[in-house]
């Protein structure tokens, strides 16, 4: 397909700008010539219809939840309610400046204030900030809070280590390193849970915190979480909850009750806000009472005159977003919580776990199952037996594309060979799950009878398998006009 630059023709435009109604002064008299650019930037020159057709064509070469099943493990690709999109576009939300005087944005502040409280209740935390723009941004904030808390307590200097399980999301160790910590990995045991003895051996005077996902990235509930919490706290460390998998436990169990001190939420996973092709997300952070003073500024308070932003927080870690985070996303999460209510949220988690267990029951026997336990909202299969036949998890994923489904997450967690991580979510009907299972079973058969077809898949997509090695070896990261095209357009 052509790029927008290849559709450009000199002199065309897609929009009129109103004529200027103040004097059009010679630019040189306002801005010294040496600050001005010579040639204008080479932006495309297209009429509006050409632009619209270009982006419509691009959209048709993209798969979203609205296009079809999207069981991308750990990402919770659930249905995104349309009414939330309409709400976030209301002028009273979208057309609001973050520095308006508080008396002119009481509705927005009230929404944020209430959402913070809802999330605190769901996770069992004392207080929540909405400032982080995504889950890993929330992780970074959580670690900043841990650092500030321990510095104030007086043992920050020696507590330099963040423990993460070998199954953790890559963002956990990356966030810890960004926050200046040393990362030490904890083994998981043969049942998939954290190896308690290994954990105990690694805990010590240098431990700042253990970062944990529960249910784990294997889709299993960490059964000894209370023992883990006791061990970490007795060692003087804190327990950090990676909220990527919260969709499994809403209204059923709360991280705060499990002993976690800090929690991040992924509103774009659990709370049905769209993933936007990679973002924007939103990663609010909740903390227990003694960590509240360290939350980033500003915090929203309610006084006799209404809601206001409090910047005067001497122990605060500071700021990690210019304003208050992805407000537009939090509006959608607020709408979701209000439309589900307490029973609805619990039902979401029950259905998500039911769907996963149902789908697992259809695939058991066709793929290797590293841990045969009841799963939570997702499960991990291994294609290691297929690998022996010359068919990798990657090939299976590519073949799934031919059925019109998005493949599961592949090659994660890193501890499982040829991993396929499946998260169906509560949104999907039994018919969809049956159809997906049927495709997966057929692919498992084809791995034996026709491995070449899998190795060369996909066969029906807009493009065939793409050469990622070549892309990394000779990076072409922007469009450039080739000599042969000169004279065709601008």
């Amino acid at each position: 397909m052509k790029t927008i630059f290849e559709r450009s023709r000199s002199g065309r435009r897609g929009l009129l700008i109103p004529p200027c109604d103040v004097p059009e002064v010679e630019l040189d008299s306002l801005i010294p010539r040496r600050f001005q650019r010579g040639a204008p930037p080479a932006l495309p020159e297209v009429d509006q219809l050409t632009a619209v057709r270009h982006y419509t064509a691009l959209s048709r070469r993209n798969h979203g939840v609205d296009s079809g099943f999207y069981p991308l493990g750990s990402c919770t690709m659930k249905y995104n309610p349309k009414v939330a999109e309409d709400i976030a576009r209301l002028a009273g939300f979208a057309r609001l400046h973050p520095l308006q005087p508080a008396e002119t944005c009481q509705g927005a502040l009230a929404l944020m204030h209430d959402l913070e409280r809802y999330l605190a209740e769901i996770a069992g935390m004392a207080r929540v900030t909405l400032q982080p723009a995504a889950g890993s941004h929330g992780e970074l904030l959580g670690l900043m809070i841990i650092k500030a808390f321990m510095a104030r307590r007086g043992d920050g200097e020696r507590r330099r280590v963040i423990l993460v399980p070998d199954t953790s999301h890559g963002t956990n160790p990356a966030s810890a390193a960004l926050a200046g910590y040393r990362v030490v990995q904890v083994r998981s045991g043969p049942d998939g849970d954290v190896d308690i003895e290994d954990l105990a051996a690694r805990l010590g005077e240098d431990t700042a915190a253990l970062m944990l996902t529960n249910p784990s990235t294997l889709g299993l509930f960490e059964r000894r979480i209370e023992a883990i919490s006791g061990l970490v706290h007795r060692a003087g460390g804190l327990l950090y909850y990676d909220g990527a998998n919260m969709n499994a436990i809403m209204g059923i169990s709360r991280p705060g009750d499990m002993g976690f001190d800090i929690v991040h939420f992924n509103l774009h996973k659990t709370f049905a806000t769209p993933h936007g092709g990679g973002g924007p997300g939103s990663g609010p952070v909740g903390v227990v009472r003694e960590l509240v003073p360290f939350l980033p500024v500003p915090v929203i308070e309610k006084g006799p005159g209404g809601y206001y932003l409090d910047h005067d927080r001497p122990l605060s870690v500071g700021k990690l977003h210019a304003f208050y985070g992805n407000f537009g996303v939090t509006v959608k999460a607020y709408a979701y919580i209000r439309s589900m209510g307490p029973d609805g949220l619990r039902q979401v988690s029950e259905d998500a776990v039911l769907s996963a267990n149902y789908l697992l029951s259809l695939l058991r026997g066709h793929y290797d199952l590293p841990f045969d336990r009841p799963c939570m909202h997702e499960f991990v299969l291994s294609a290691r037996k297929h690998k022996e036949l010359g068919v990798a998890a990657r090939d299976i994923a590519k073949r799934i594309l031919d059925y019109g489904f998005h493949p599961p997450t592949t090659y994660f967690p890193l501890t499982i060979a040829e991993a396929l991580m499946v998260e169906p979510t509560e949104s999907e009907s039994v018919e969809t799950l049956d159809a997906f299972a049927e495709a997966m079973v057929q692919i498992a058969r084809d791995a034996v009878t026709n491995p070449e077809m899998l190795r060369t898949a996909p066969h029906t997509t807009a493009v065939r398998r793409l050469d990622e090695v070549a892309a990394a070896r000779n990076p072409v990261l922007r469009w450039k006009r080739r000599d042969s095209e000169k004279g065709e357009g601008a």
Binding site: A108, I122, A134, L320, R346, E468
Partner: protein, 460 residues
């Protein structure tokens, strides 16, 4: 029920049998009861109506978020649910639409900034600046970052928070009387320990920095340091691109490109850099390649920088970014095109200067900084700017941003107001603002009388 019975279970609570009973909630969540869609819309509409919105009220606030016109096409393209209900394009064969759109976005950012490579987006202008500062520290092996006090104070706070946590130092360089960074103080501060220099242009006061002069000083005094510039993408339609001025990393706030203010988020963190720094750049990058049949296609590339491959050795922890906002920027730049963006920039420049001159001639008001400006400017007010804002709200106008809190050391900013004028503001609105501000000031008991006032003499 079909699924339960096929699993041989009686109730869904059996699914949770691995949870210790001590951890199971014994009460419902204390949340408001569920609402139907109709009730939900009414409730949320009421909250939205509790705010003054920029469609109905002329707004003169900038300071990091700007009220530019968002063409209809942008929201319609963003409403294509094939885009907004997808996620990071991990499976390229099924995600060519988003990948190509981001590839085109990267190209557009390179065109605007004059840089060699751009990434697929970061969270916002503030966190992008922090990531750039960290890149500078790692690339140079040095530990002190210099940042002008003319950089947006919110950004400075974000940079300081990131650097403090990572264990790096930060030093602020004061401004001179023109409202730009003081180049002599910069020369004195830069040295062999400098990791990076951060400037913003147009700066927080709307004044253009002399990037060329600052870059020359940095090259002379601290050759290992990275030169980081936070630039406004719309101003780059008129201004010399940082890529021509020896800048190593360009960041900026891309909200101005087709994204609504949305109470400060979602925004769009722009980042572009030299090819030399490519492998130190954080975030997703899309590259061109070919498929098994030789057709052009796009993939996420140079992923060995990223957290899902490198874990604690990654260049950043970012995973989810602001892809849809980058798409908005690409659509915006496409629809406005070469001429349209230039016209928007000219309008901002003309209207900004018109407003500045209007306030210069207003009794009691003064313009403290005379350097060339783009879309924002500082006004000294005869009464506290917060009082002016309250008075203006009664006239249905959203005023400017009071500066004193951020610059307690600057005598001339004690009663200062930062005003912003985009192409959306009309001459009539600017005149109304000036008249309403003058009237509010005249009514105030603290306003000096024309006969006895000494404050006014240099302004009249």
């Amino acid at each position: 029920m079909v699924m339960l019975s096929r699993l041989g279970l009686d109730s869904s609570s059996e699914l949770f049998r691995e949870l210790p009973s001590s951890l199971r909630m014994s009460r419902p969540l204390a949340l408001p009861a569920a609402l139907s869609e109709l009730e939900l819309l009414k409730t949320l509409k009421a909250l939205a109506d509790g705010n003054l919105n920029l469609d109905e009220h002329p707004c003169f606030l900038g300071a990091g978020v700007y009220d530019h016109y968002v063409p209809s096409v942008v929201d319609h393209v963003l409403g294509r649910s094939e885009f907004y209900t997808s996620y990071t394009p991990y499976q390229p064969e099924m995600s060519q639409g988003m990948l190509q759109a981001i590839f085109e976005y990267q190209t557009l950012i390179c065109e605007l900034t004059g840089m060699e490579v751009a990434n697929a987006s970061l969270y916002d202008g503030g966190s992008s600046l922090a990531e750039a500062a960290l890149m500078g520290c790692r690339a140079s092996g040095r530990e002190e970052v210099l940042i002008a006090r003319t950089v947006n104070p919110f950004y400075r706070e974000v940079v300081a928070t990131y650097l403090r946590t990572a264990g790096f130092a930060i030093r602020e360089i004061p401004l001179d009387e023109s409202g730009a960074v003081d180049l002599d103080l910069l020369a004195a501060a830069a040295g062999s320990g400098t990791a990076a220099l951060i400037l913003q242009s147009p700066n927080f006061f709307g004044i253009l920095e002399d990037l060329e002069a600052a870059g020359n000083i940095l090259r002379r005094r601290a050759p290992a340091a990275s030169f980081v510039v936070s630039a406004d993408p719309i101003s780059l339609a008129l201004l010399r691109p940082p890529g021509e001025l020896g800048v190593d990393i360009v960041v900026g706030e891309g909200q101005v490109l087709g994204n609504h203010p949305s109470f400060g988020g979602p925004l769009l963190g722009i980042m572009a850099c030299t090819e030399k720094l490519l492998r130190r750049m954080p975030g997703r990058i899309v590259g061109e390649t070919t498929d098994a049949e030789g057709r052009r296609g796009y993939v996420l590339t140079i992923q060995t920088r990223e957290q899902h491959i490198r874990r604690e050795k990654a260049t950043s922890n970012i995973c989810t970014n602001q892809a849809l906002n980058a798409l908005a920027a690409a659509v915006y730049l496409t629809v406005l095109g070469k001429d349209g963006l230039r016209e928007v920039a000219f309008n901002c420049c003309w209207k900004g200067h018109y407003a500045r001159e209007r306030f210069r001639s207003l009794r009691g008001f003064a313009i403290p900084y005379q350097g060339p400006c783009f879309r924002e400017f500082v006004v000294n007010c005869p009464i506290p700017p917060a009082e002016l804002n309250s008075a203006l709200i009664r006239d249905g106008i959203i005023g400017g941003y009071p500066l004193a809190r951020h610059y307690p050391e600057r005598e001339e900013l004690r009663s200062a107001w930062l005003l912003c004028v985009t192409e959306r503001r009309t001459r009539a609105e600017i005149d109304r603002l000036a008249e309403a501000a003058a009237a509010a000031a005249a009514l105030s008991p603290v306003f000096p009388s024309p006969e006895g006032g000494t404050v006014l003499e240099n302004d009249l």
